[in-house]
C-alpha cells in the first residue's frame, strides 16, 4: 500500500535531499546486489508484478504494491532497486512525481525493509504448523505498512506545510500580488533562511518586517496555520485509506506466504 507524493508539494530541499540519500543508498545496494546477480530476473519480475498489481482497482484511490513481499523474497538491497525502478516507471505515467522519485523510493523501500526484518524475526515463532507462517506473513505486512505510513506522516510533520515554506517567494514581483492577496502567494528565493525559521512563527513574521507590503498579503495564510492542523488534517484523510489498503495487502501477502510455504519453502 502506498500513498505517492506528487510533484510540486514538497519543498526543493526535501526532494533534493531525497534524491541525494537515495543515490547513496543505491550505490550501496548495487554493490551488494551485484554479488547476488542471480536474483536480478526475480527482482525485475517482482517490480513488474508490483506495477501490475498497482493497476488493480480497489474501489478507492489507493492500491497495493506487494513491496513487503519483495523485501521477504529478495532482501533489502534488491528491494531498494525494485523500489527505485517501480517509482521511476510510475512517475512516467503520472503516478507519484519525478522530482520526488527519491522520497517515494525511500518510503516504498521502507515497507520492504521492515518486511524483511520483521518476517526474519517472527517467521519461525510458530514452528512449521500449517498456516502459522502465513499469519506471520500477514502480520509482517500490516506492521511494515503501518511503520512506513508513520514515516510518511512524520515527513508531513517535518515538512510542516506552511505556505511560506513550500512556495518560493519572489521579492521582485511583490507589486503583482497585491491585488489577489488570498489567492496569490509570493515566492521566496532564499529557502534556507525560511527553513531556519519555520518552527518559530514570530521569527518568521520578523522576516517580513523589511517587506512591509508583504505582511498584509500573507496574513490569510500563516495567521491560520498550525502544525497540529497540518498533520491532523493529513491523517484524517489518509489514515482510513491506509487501513483499507493495508488490510487487503496483508491478506494477500499472508495467502502468498502460505502458498509459498507449501510449494517453495526454500524461498522463505
Amino acid at each position: 500500500m502506498h500513498i505517492e507524493i506528487p510533484d510540486g508539494v514538497l519543498p526543493f530541499a526535501i526532494w533534493f535531499a531525497g534524491f541525494a540519500i537515495t543515490a547513496i543508498l543505491l550505490v550501496v545496494a548495487i554493490y551488494f546486489a551485484k554479488k547476488e546477480e542471480k536474483k536480478m530476473p526475480l527482482a525485475a519480475l517482482l517490480a513488474a508484478l508490483s506495477l501490475l498489481v498497482m493497476s488493480v482497482p480497489l474501489g478507492l484511490p489507493v492500491h497495493i504494491n506487494l513491496m513487503v513481499l519483495v523485501g521477504i523474497l529478495v532482501g533489502p538491497f534488491w528491494a531498494l532497486i525494485v523500489s527505485f525502478v517501480t517509482n521511476s516507471i510510475l512517475a512516467s505515467v503520472g503516478h507519484g512525481g519525478v522530482t520526488v522519485i527519491g522520497i517515494n523510493t525511500i518510503l516504498l523501500w521502507s515497507q520492504a525493509l521492515f518486511g524483511f526484518l520483521i518476517f526474519r524475526a517472527i517467521k519461525d515463532l510458530g514452528g512449521e504448523k500449517k498456516g502459522v507462517k502465513a499469519i506471520m506473513g500477514g502480520l509482517t505486512a500490516f506492521f511494515s505498512l503501518f511503520l512506513s505510513f508513520s514515516l510518511l506522516a512524520g515527513l508531513v510533520f517535518a515538512v510542516n506545510l506552511n505556505p511560506d515554506e513550500v512556495l518560493i517567494h519572489d521579492h521582485s514581483h511583490d507589486h503583482h500580488s497585491h491585488d489577489h492577496e488570498d489567492e496569490h502567494y509570493e515566492e521566496h528565493h532564499d529557502e534556507d533562511e525560511h527553513y531556519e525559521d519555520h518552527h518559530d512563527e514570530d521569527e518568521h513574521h520578523e522576516d517580513h518586517h523589511d517587506e512591509e507590503h508583504h505582511e498584509d498579503e500573507h496574513h490569510g495564510a500563516h495567521d491560520y496555520y498550525s502544525e497540529e492542523l497540518s498533520v491532523g488534517g493529513f491523517l484524517a484523510v489518509a489514515l482510513p485509506l491506509f487501513l483499507y489498503a493495508a488490510i487487503i495487502e496483508a491478506i494477500i501477502v499472508a495467502l502468498v506466504i502460505g502458498f509459498l510455504q507449501k510449494s517453495r519453502p526454500d524461498l522463505l
Binding site: 505517492e4 507524493i5 506528487p6 510533484d7 510540486g8 508539494v9 543505491l26 548495487i30 536474483k39 536480478m40 530476473p41 526475480l42 527482482a43 525485475a44 519480475l45 513488474a48 508484478l49 506495477l51 501490475l52 493497476s55 484511490p61 532497486i81 525502478v85 517501480t86 521511476s88 516507471i89 512517475a91 512516467s92 505515467v93 503520472g94 503516478h95 512525481g97 508531513v156 505556505p163 512556495l167 518560493i168 514581483h173 489567492e183 496569490h184 502567494y185 509570493e186 515566492e187 490569510g220 495564510a221 491560520y224 496555520y225 498550525s226 498533520v231 488534517g233 493529513f234 484523510v237 489518509a238 494477500i252 495467502l255 502468498v256 502458498f259 509459498l260 510449494s263 517453495r264 524461498l267
Partner: protein, 227 residues
C-alpha cells in the same frame, strides 16, 4: 490496457514527437517540469498545460485518457493540501494545479518516447539499474499477457462473479509463475552469455525538429523567469 501499455503503444508510433530524439524530449520535459513546480502563480503551469495539450492533440495522443489519469496524483496532492484548508483555498489549489500539470507533462513525455530510449539515456548514469529497468519493462508486458489470458479464462469458466477470489488466485498464480520463470530466465541469460548488461542503441539522430523544440523550450523557460 494499463497506462504503461498504452503509453508504450503510442510511443512506438510514427508521430512528429515520437520521431524526435529522446534527449531533446527529456530536456523539454525537465525544463517544463521545473517551470511548473516553481511557478508563483497559475499562469505558467497553465501555459505549460496548454502547450503540452496542443502538442498532444497534434501528435494524435489519447488526450482524454491522459487528462483523466493526471488527476490521480492530484488526488494525493489534495491529501497534503486540503489539510491546509484553514489557510484559505488558494494554497491547496496551487498544489493541485502543480501536481496535475506535472503529471500531464510526464504522461506526454512517456506517450511520445519509448521506454527503452529513456533507459538508454539512463544507462550512461548506471548501466546496472538500466538493465533492471529493461528487464522490468519486458516482463511487465509478459505479465500483462498472462493476466489477460487468465482473466479471460476465468470468465469463460464462469468465475467472474467471485471477482475478489479470482483476483486473489490470479495474484497467487502470478507469484508462483514469476518465481519459476525467474530461474529459467537466469539460466537462459547465462546460456546467451549475459554479462550484466542489456544493449540498445537508438537509431534516432537529432534533427531540425529537435533543434526547434530545444529553442522553444529555452525561450519558454526564459520567459517564465522574466514575467
Amino acid at each position: 490496457m494499463t497506462g504503461i501499455g498504452l503509453a508504450d503503444y503510442y510511443a512506438s508510433k510514427e508521430g512528429a514527437f515520437q520521431k524526435m530524439s529522446a534527449y531533446s524530449k527529456l530536456i523539454f520535459f525537465v525544463s517544463f517540469l521545473f517551470v511548473t513546480i516553481s511557478a508563483e502563480n497559475y499562469l505558467f503551469p497553465g501555459a505549460v498545460f496548454v502547450t503540452v495539450f496542443i502538442f498532444g492533440v497534434g501528435t494524435g495522443l489519447p488526450v482524454r485518457k491522459m487528462l483523466m489519469w493526471a488527476f490521480f496524483p492530484a488526488f494525493f496532492a489534495s491529501l497534503f493540501a486540503f489539510s491546509q484548508l484553514v489557510a484559505g483555498f488558494g494554497f491547496p489549489i496551487i498544489f493541485l494545479v502543480r501536481a496535475y500539470v506535472a503529471a500531464y507533462l510526464a504522461l506526454f513525455y512517456t506517450f511520445t518516447t519509448p521506454y527503452f530510449e529513456t533507459f538508454t539515456i539512463f544507462s550512461k548514469v548506471s548501466p546496472f539499474l538500466a538493465t533492471v529497468l529493461f528487464f522490468t519493462y519486458r516482463y511487465f508486458f509478459l505479465f500483462l499477457d498472462i493476466v489477460k489470458n487468465k482473466t479471460t479464462m476465468v470468465k469463460v469458466r464462469g468465475g467472474s462473479e467471485r471477482r475478489f477470489v479470482s483476483a486473489g488466485k490470479i495474484v497467487g498464480f502470478l507469484v508462483l509463475e514469476m518465481i519459476d520463470r525467474a530461474e529459467r530466465i537466469y539460466s537462459a541469460l547465462k546460456i546467451r552469455g549475459f554479462r550484466g548488461r542489456i544493449f540498445y542503441s537508438s537509431k534516432k539522430k537529432m534533427g531540425r525538429s529537435d533543434l526547434a523544440l530545444l529553442i522553444f523550450t529555452l525561450l519558454f523557460v526564459i520567459t517564465s523567469k522574466i514575467i
